[in-house]
Subunit: 213 residues, 2 copies
Amino acid sequence: MERKISLLVIRRLPRYYRYLGELLRENITRISSKELSEKMNVTASQIRQDLNCFGGFGQQGYGYNVTALHSEIGAILGVNKLQNIIIVGAGNLGHALANHAGFAKRGFNLIGIFDSDKEKVGQKINDCEIYDMETLGDFLDKNEVRIAILTIPRLCTQEVADLVTAHGVKGLWNFSNMDLEVSDDVIVENVHLSDSLMTLSYQLSESEKKKEG
Amino acid sequence: MERKISLLVIRRLPRYYRYLGELLRENITRISSKELSEKMNVTASQIRQDLNCFGGFGQQGYGYNVTALHSEIGAILGVNKLQNIIIVGAGNLGHALANHAGFAKRGFNLIGIFDSDKEKVGQKINDCEIYDMETLGDFLDKNEVRIAILTIPRLCTQEVADLVTAHGVKGLWNFSNMDLEVSDDVIVENVHLSDSLMTLSYQLSESEKKKEG
């Protein structure tokens, strides 16, 4: 099936996936777009429109089959299978991400953490070992790794991105405040934390202006 | 001036702000939308369209005045003034955020970190003291705090959100994987890290399918 789905819809899918997962944990197996819309604070028509992009799982008058929808969206997101990931940079953010309970649950299998600080090498975070940065290329040649999480200082990030992609990594989850240059077959997802904080700040200013005005 | 700017445009502004800041550091004070577009990997027409939302700072044939545009976008984002922020939760993520160099630069002034772990109380992160959670309400009554960063376990987040907003906080930057219920005058910006990783995973799957197909 040929389909072209906008990145905007894609960015909403993880949220559907999360909510549907919560419903399943509460043993709710059927839900109407109206109920889902109230729970998620999105309009029902938005929900129908989004989910119709994928062929539509709902049946008029019967609502959505939560189990089927959850597993289908999981498949679309590619989180229904195990994928190896590594973290480069064992600082506070690297630690926080290595301890993130949600990743393993979604099939992301952390198999190594890399740092250039020799004192950290050999330690473990959440049962995963910290290896020497110098061994990173070798490690990637021996292990199939799909995604590298980069939590390293801005200045080293491009260099590390070049290294890991030269050794087969196809996805970079980049936390440094720097836009990376990569070849066309590599996907970069940037997390610019300051950008998110500035967006919040803007919305606050607007909300205050509205009150004053 | 009455203006209604879509959140999509708003979300792109921090990126413009970042790029313009980089240009200023390189002493570049004038740039065409074409050059900016190449640097930012956005179409020139997108740039013109986005910046026209704010009245348009460019002059046909002369390009944009980088200094003016940077300071204007800063003002729009509300990052041209000092705003007090606190962090609730001194775990790894709280540590990472407290050490984030970019916040202070953008006027976000961290004045307190709160944790319920008595062993952490009294320690400092990046010169900012960790206080006892029990003193949080008092602290907020004595200090004007605009934004609270919540890096606490999912189960406590709503409770803490209720507490800080009852004591005057108007913006919540929420890192727990949980959608908060707040009153209409409170703005919540959620950072769902797993969602971002799943979006990356989806784009990878699509890119692989394209290659195979």
